[in-house]
């Protein structure tokens, strides 16, 4: 991570396009039937446990098994490949794009995700900190806990089988925690963001600057 961050460039990028875009792809092969149109507003999952599904985006049918796929976010369908309606598609085929406006918190998180080392979920599962790490966090706070490669930092829980997760990344402090115990994390999603202890002031500077600047945008 560089010690120099061009704040003006980063903020200019967000000023010119204050949105994030999610590409929605076919999860597996099958025939596509859309349930939304281009420009339509869609809703994210809701409810205390995020258990009420979001707007149904499309259905995919494989071997007579019809599966609805729902929006993971609240936004607008900004692009839709209408020509694929009723067609058989391969896994990973891009079907639509959902655009949603960024909030100040999202921008800070996005910038931090660019400057922190992100340790990602190896599998879709629920995660919690290893007992030793959790007790250090409880005593001193996450940003005082230094972790290094090979440390057992997390436990992955799936079907009541606990798997230790060993840290692989640069040594540093746990700056950001992206998971909550008891809430499933998808494979590849970040679990924690880590930065070198000497970089913490720089990170704070990023946050302060964005907080101040974004109000003026």
């Amino acid at each position: 991570m560089s010690n120099e961050i061009d704040f003006d460039e980063i903020l200019a990028k967000y000023r010119s396009d204050p949105y994030n875009y999610i590409q929605v792809r076919a999860p597996h092969t099958g025939v596509i039937n859309y349930r939304v149109d281009k420009g339509q507003a869609v809703d994210a999952p809701s409810g205390e446990w995020q258990h009420i599904p979001g707007t149904t985006l499309f259905e995919i049918t494989r071997e007579k098994n019809r599966k609805p796929l729902c929006s993971p976010i609240t936004g607008i369908v900004s692009e839709l490949k209408a020509e694929l309606e009723g067609c058989f598609v391969e896994a990973g085929e891009k079907l639509m794009t959902i655009r949603y406006p960024l909030k100040k918190k999202d921008i800070i998180e996005n910038i931090l995700k660019e400057v922190l080392y992100l340790f990602r979920a190896p599998e879709k599962a629920k995660y919690f900190f290893a007992l030793d790490v959790q007790s250090r966090i409880d005593k001193k706070g996450a940003r005082s806990v230094i972790i290094k490669p090979g440390d057992e930092i997390l436990t992955m829980s799936l079907m009541k089988r606990d798997t230790p997760v060993y840290y692989a990344g640069e040594e540093g402090v746990i700056h950001s925690v992206y998971f909550e115990p008891g809430i499933s994390v998808d494979q590849g999603e970040p679990l924690i963001g880590v930065c070198g202890a000497d970089k913490v002031p720089l990170i704070q500077k990023v946050i302060t600057r964005v907080k101040a600047e974004w109000d003026n945008i």
């Binding site: 409810g47 205390e48 446990w49 258990h51 009420i52 071997e63 098994n65 599962a125 629920k126 919690f128 007992l131 829980s157 799936l158 079907m159 009541k160 089988r161 606990d162 798997t163 230790p164 060993y166 115990p181 008891g182 499933s184």
Partner: protein, 306 residues
């Protein structure tokens, strides 16, 4: 009778051949039981008995590490048993009372299964225990994922942990088991929630005999994971059909239709109440909340509300 001194690998092999296999042949899978038992035959291939251990899981980890440093590998199916454990614990560092009289130990399984089969391994432990307990007490049931209950009280619990060998990178699943067989007194905090097989059956149980039955049931049910995987890959079974292990779990469980409280750590942090409506084809628990919405959980635990 209250010791595991008679629980040896040789006795287990005899039991599997003379008792378990004929019984399984007369079950729904018929002659396929022969192939299934062969797949699971590694279970208990080595049985180590100890008078007292801190935790069998710790010893299993040490043995894997020591063997790997020597350029060797722990035998898959190694079973470490102790008459009592002094530092046993359940999930989230909950204490587990393991005095003489119970069956306490760890089974080491080298993971050679594909992920869809491997994820069912914790369910296998509950099914095998429930089957063995039912030989003495037919009222035993399984609570999702693998708690074994008699009359709503826990008689058997399992702690499954994956462990990656430092040298080989090989993945082991350590299945820690704790089954209250002849131990009849429990600490105050467990008294309302725990029971033992001897309390339920009204008589002491031969611990070695019970151990044989449990390991033989594990042999069959772990073998079933391999058998099913082989037959799906060989396209001799429809991959979309329900796994026979899940069918068996449904037969043994009393979770379906129950009002429950769910939590990732349900004791210290209960999350919500729901009704269990089924399990999906991956073993996930299907729950319906009071507002009618549905959730499928693949980890965490439940407690029955009534």
């Amino acid at each position: 009778m209250t010791s595991t001194v008679g629980l040896t690998a040789a006795r287990l092999r005899s039991y599997c051949r003379d008792v378990e296999l004929p019984a399984r042949r007369s079950g729904p899978l018929g002659r396929a039981a022969d192939e299934i038992m062969r797949y699971g035959a590694f279970v208990g291939s080595v049985i180590e008995r100890h008078k007292r251990l801190e935790r069998a899981m710790l010893l299993a980890r040490e043995q894997i590490a020591v063997r790997e440093r020597a350029g060797e590998s722990v035998v898959s199916g190694t079973t470490i048993i102790a008459d009592s454990l002094t530092g046993s614990r359940g999930r989230f560092a909950r204490s587990w009372h393991a005095p003489p009289g119970g069956l306490w130990g760890t089974l080491v399984v080298v993971n050679t299964l594909l992920p869809p089969s491997f994820r069912l391994l914790p369910m296998v432990a509950g099914i095998a225990c429930c089957e063995a307990v039912r030989d003495y007490c037919p009222a035993a049931t399984v609570r999702w994922i693998n708690d074994v209950l008699i009359g709503g009280r826990k008689v058997g619990g399992f702690l499954c942990e994956s462990f990656i060998g430092e040298g080989s990178g090989e993945e082991f699943c350590l299945i820690g088991f704790g089954i209250n067989v002849n131990n009849e007194s429990f600490p105050e905090e467990l008294r309302d929630d725990a029971t033992s097989l001897s309390l339920a059956a009204g008589t002491a149980v031969d611990l070695s005999e019970f151990g044989c039955r449990f390991l033989a049931a594990l042999t069959f049910n772990i073998g079933l994971l391999y058998y099913h995987e082989d037959h799906v890959l060989g396209q001799r079974i429809d991959a979309g059909a329900a796994h026979p292990l899940l069918l068996r779990w449904r037969e043994l469980s009393d979770s379906l239709g129950r009002s429950v409280v769910y939590g990732f750590d349900v004791i210290s942090r209960p999350q919500y109440r729901a009704v269990v409506t089924g399990i999906d084809n991956e073993g996930g628990l299907c729950l319906t909340l009071t507002d009618g919405s549905r959730i499928v959980e693949h980890s965490g635990e439940i407690r029955y509300l009534m």
